[in-house]
């Protein structure tokens, strides 16, 4: 029984590390996307004639605040749910089916 708890704790630790890495990666992708959006917006505005524009940092930070609340950021929790479900499925299929 102790083996289950030990390996379970180790597994949860590894999954937490993966969760952190995945959220950093996805946020980095989002940041790059918003920086490109800002560049596009600048190009558009200079083509149409100047309007009031936010600085790049303000623009990107504002978009990132919305991103943090969005569904996509929450999907990273799947990093916890999917492996645990897979292990449970393997245990069931191996021993009870």
């Amino acid at each position: 029984m102790i083996g289950f708890f030990r390996n379970g704790a180790l597994g949860l630790f590894v999954l937490s590390a993966l969760y952190v890495l995945m959220s950093i990666y996805l946020r980095s992708l989002a940041r790059e996307r918003y920086e490109n959006d800002w560049a596009d917006q600048q190009a558009q505005q200079s083509a149409q004639g100047a309007g009031t524009t936010m600085s790049r940092d303000e623009f990107v930070e504002a978009r990132l605040q919305d991103y943090k609340k969005s569904l996509r950021a929450k999907l990273v929790l799947l990093v916890f749910i999917v492996p645990i479900t897979a292990v449970a499925a393997v245990i069931y299929l191996m021993n009870y089916a």
């Binding site: 990666y25 393997v90 191996m94």
Partner: protein, 219 residues
């Protein structure tokens, strides 16, 4: 030098292939001939054995279940039947006693065979006395039945996706965090070189003027 890199790559690839060939499940279609229980003292081949039944204690010798079978071509094949428990490989096999009972119920004579598909992992090697670990048995229609290794397909595809994901993550990190720093370092170094060149030019010009002054004085 390229031979060394190539050699290391080949060795690594072979090692990975051997690792997956040992650990991933395979299927054999066999006729079960008998089951038994043997006392094994683990010696130098101990890494090829699994764990004691979940909940029992670890010793340097214990009883191990065996399932004796015969392949369709007449050759014998012997499997062990051990719990992997919570350890490696992650089969979470906890029911070796049940599996032994199942196997015993499927023993059949040559004249009236019951062909079963034994799912197993590991290698059979007579020189090391190691046996594959049977993980499940299922009755099949005959020795020619086709079995599609779904588990292997799923696992290998997942591994490929994980490798691609790691590659993408590394590239993103490199592009956004490492390359800009390297560029700054490169530019700073170029500045240092430019200033050193300018200082050198100034020094040379000064020396030329001094030499000219002395030359004029000498004459």
């Amino acid at each position: 030098m390229t031979y060394v890199k190539w050699g290391v790559g080949v060795v690594l690839a072979l090692f990975l292939f051997a690792f997956f060939h040992y650990t991933l499940p395979q299927h054999d279609i066999v006729r079960i001939v008998g089951t038994e229980n043997r006392r094994i003292d683990f010696g130098e081949n101990s890494i090829f054995w699994a764990s004691p039944d979940v909940g029992t204690s670890q010793l340097s010798n214990r009883d191990v279940f065996f399932i004796q079978t015969q392949l369709p071509n007449g050759k014998p094949m012997v499997y062990r039947n051990e719990d992997t428990g919570w350890g490696w490989p992650p089969y979470f096999k906890l029911d070796s006693s049940n599996l032994q009972a199942e196997a015993a119920s499927l023993v059949s004579p040559k004249a009236d065979p019951i062909w079963v598909s034994v799912t197993h992992y590991g290698w059979r090697n007579e020189w090391l006395t190691i046996f594959p670990n049977a993980v499940g048995v299922k009755v099949v229609s005959g020795p020619e039945a086709t079995i599609i290794p779904w588990a292997n397909i799923v696992i290998l595809v997942l591994l490929l996706l994980i490798v691609l994901l790691i590659r993408a993550m590394w590239r993103q990190f490199k592009e956004r965090s490492i390359d800009p720093v390297l560029e700054d370092v490169g530019e700073a170094w170029d500045d240092v070189e430019d200033r050193a060149d300018a200082a050198g030019d100034y020094g040379r010009g000064l020396w030329a003027k001094i030499k000219a002054k002395f030359g004029a004085l000498k004459r």
